[in-house]
Symmetry: C2
């Protein structure tokens, strides 16, 4: 059966993954990191799927980044050994971290306060083995982390250094790079990440403390970085699928986006120029991350069932199980005739958010003629 016929046979809404595009995206960043001589530690929060992680990690056991301890547990069970939990550790979660390490998972945690460092030391003492931790550095005022010249850095480092193996290094993430348009602006953020992390590492080392890991990254900066001197690893996640936020800042083109939501036309309001579909926010997510970009893509760009973009059509509104398609504001393209029952595919605004609305990917194989297969996803904490 052709891919089109297989897509026509799926229930809607369904999540569709183009494996060929995904593999090309994975290869693109892997090759870049190889050329720059730096380890890539992919962030698996985007895929949340064992099958997808095997492609992302090239079948390996890591290194990997996760955003929840549930991800750490699932990927560890699937054979991933070297995992960084890259969200500030809540002291209550250290029990789970101890259990994972006791089971053989090389799991590291992230922190930026003395209270957390003390909790890590206490948990390591109780466990009888060290809990490795990275200290989070703030390179762009985006979210968490210490300024690289904050004296707390030494205090936290010294606290962790009480037990050999607890002070692993420093980490930063230029979340603001998602707002930087074009490679030059993104390269500047990459340098901001690098210099902040390297400065913090030097500060620790200058105080006689160890700092073997210098971890930086985001999808825009990983693709734009020109110089990674002093950096030991790069993290990125959404590069695997890409999305309209990334396309909007020029990190990829819409042809690179590997994810889409298959949907069916369920009605029209012709006088208002609306086409109604059965993909609302429950399928697409409520993310509207292009709203502040030059071109607002609403809740997604509209493609035909074969993935060809229908010019100037976007999802302009979503309710729980309804989406409204209309011509992009300011454009006067005629609304195409898409009868009730027509199948369409919507490119996601934010791949992590859209994917998380589904329990499985319907994977179009990169090998022509293969049937669509299901890759389960998981969620939760």
């Amino acid at each position: 059966m052709s891919i089109t016929n297989q897509l026509n046979a799926l229930p809607t809404p369904s999540l569709v993954l183009d494996e060929g595009r995904m593999l090309a995206n994975i290869a693109r960043l892997r090759d870049r990191m190889t050329a720059l001589g730096v380890t890539l530690r992919p962030h698996l929060k985007t895929v949340k799927s064992i099958d997808a992680s095997r492609r992302v990690l090239a079948g390996g056991t890591g290194p990997a980044t996760v955003s929840t301890l549930r991800e750490a547990e699932v990927f560890f069970e699937a054979g991933v050994r070297d995992i960084l939990y890259a969200v500030g550790i809540a002291p209550q979660k250290l029990r789970q971290v101890v259990a994972l390490r006791a089971a053989g998972c090389d799991l590291a945690v992230l922190l930026d306060t003395l209270e957390q460092a003390e909790a890590v030391i206490a948990a390591s003492r109780d466990a009888g083995f060290p809990m490795p931790a990275l200290i989070e550095i703030d390179c762009d005022g985006h979210r968490s982390g210490l300024n690289p010249n904050d004296p707390q850095l030494i205090a936290i480092g010294a606290c962790l250094d009480q037990i050999p193996g607890c002070l692993k290094g420093v980490l930063t993430h230029a979340g603001e790079s998602y707002g930087a348009v074009g490679q030059i602006a993104q390269a500047a953020f990459a340098e901001q990440e690098r210099s902040a992390a390297v400065q913090a590492a030097a500060m620790l080392r200058g105080a006689g403390l160890s700092c073997s890991v210098v971890s930086v990254g985001s999808t825009p900066t990983a693709h734009a970085a020109r110089n990674l001197d002093g950096v030991t690893e790069v993290r990125a996640g959404v590069y695997v699928f890409f999305d309209l936020v990334m396309a909007g800042i020029g990190v990829c083109s819409t042809d690179d986006i590997a994810l889409s939501v298959l949907t069916t036309v369920i009605g029209h309001q012709r006088s208002r120029g609306w086409i109604l579909i059965d993909a609302g926010w429950m399928a697409l997510s409520r993310d509207h991350g292009t709203a502040r970009q030059t071109v607002n893509q609403g809740y997604g760009i509209v493609c035909d069932i074969d993935g060809r973009i229908l010019p100037d059509l976007i999802v302009t509104a979503t309710n729980q199980e309804h989406g409204v398609i209309a011509v992009r504001q300011g454009f006067s393209a005629a609304l195409p005739d898409l009868p009730v029952g027509t199948r369409l595919r919507i490119l996601p605004i934010h791949a992590c958010a859209t994917a998380s609305q589904f329990d499985a990917y319907n994977v179009i194989s990169e090998v022509a003629g293969q049937p669509i297969v299901l890759w389960p996803r998981f969620r939760g904490w």
Copy 2:
């Protein structure tokens, strides 16, 4: 163990449901509908839980409204018999509808085009039994449906009337009432719903067609309606939990909100006035439905572990697994001292969206001294 201690022992983020508040919300609308002499057909898309549906339906077998065929299947298996699937039917989904009806589920569908009516008639012919359908009426320009005086109404009615039992009636939903502040404005929308539905029913009857069901509703209009003459049933969903969008338009108070997300403080950016928590958009959802209201509640209001509101603190930003708490813009309240590890509860902007991010409710019983129990949720299509 006290409720506070039990909440302290839960993983975070977790979804917490206050059963006492929920039962009061359920009783409030049930009593209102009884006083108005109209059947209530609760929308189960909000709860997506068999345990919760038993409270909403008072243990009964319906009537109920659903937004997906998956909901119809799950609730039918759990004993609900009379179900309305209130999203315009995609012709491809009629096979599933036939299967459910063949199994004994009294499932009705919704439509507003002649193509859909023809598909319903064809499916009914093939099945050998009628697929009952309601015709959707547009009462406020919000989304789908025909104008009550659209001549297509008669054409669609006549098409459905080819097989006795297919033309069940008319339905409307004043989605715009979510933007109406206060009971007077909401009562006007309730009257708009009523008059549009009754007018459409009269038009069908005037053409010699049957129209036994006249279905209206939304949470704001259900609570505000003064006169439901000619209406046979009212639908509403979010009234069961309530949320900040409903509080913002005066349908409930924040003390009525039965749902919250339990979270843990994981860091601070004191110079920026930020408290970081482990509930990001993955837990809270990206819904920011109060952004256009008079008071923007961001991604939720912050409470202590016991549910007491911390004045003027809201979640101002979310990433996948991070939330940022800050003092509401324009207010100068001091940021309270909430050390790392502190547990908080966030009241949801949109209960349907926040609940859908979790696989279970942690239910605080209305009976004091009872342990917190888990009510599973489901999702998907």
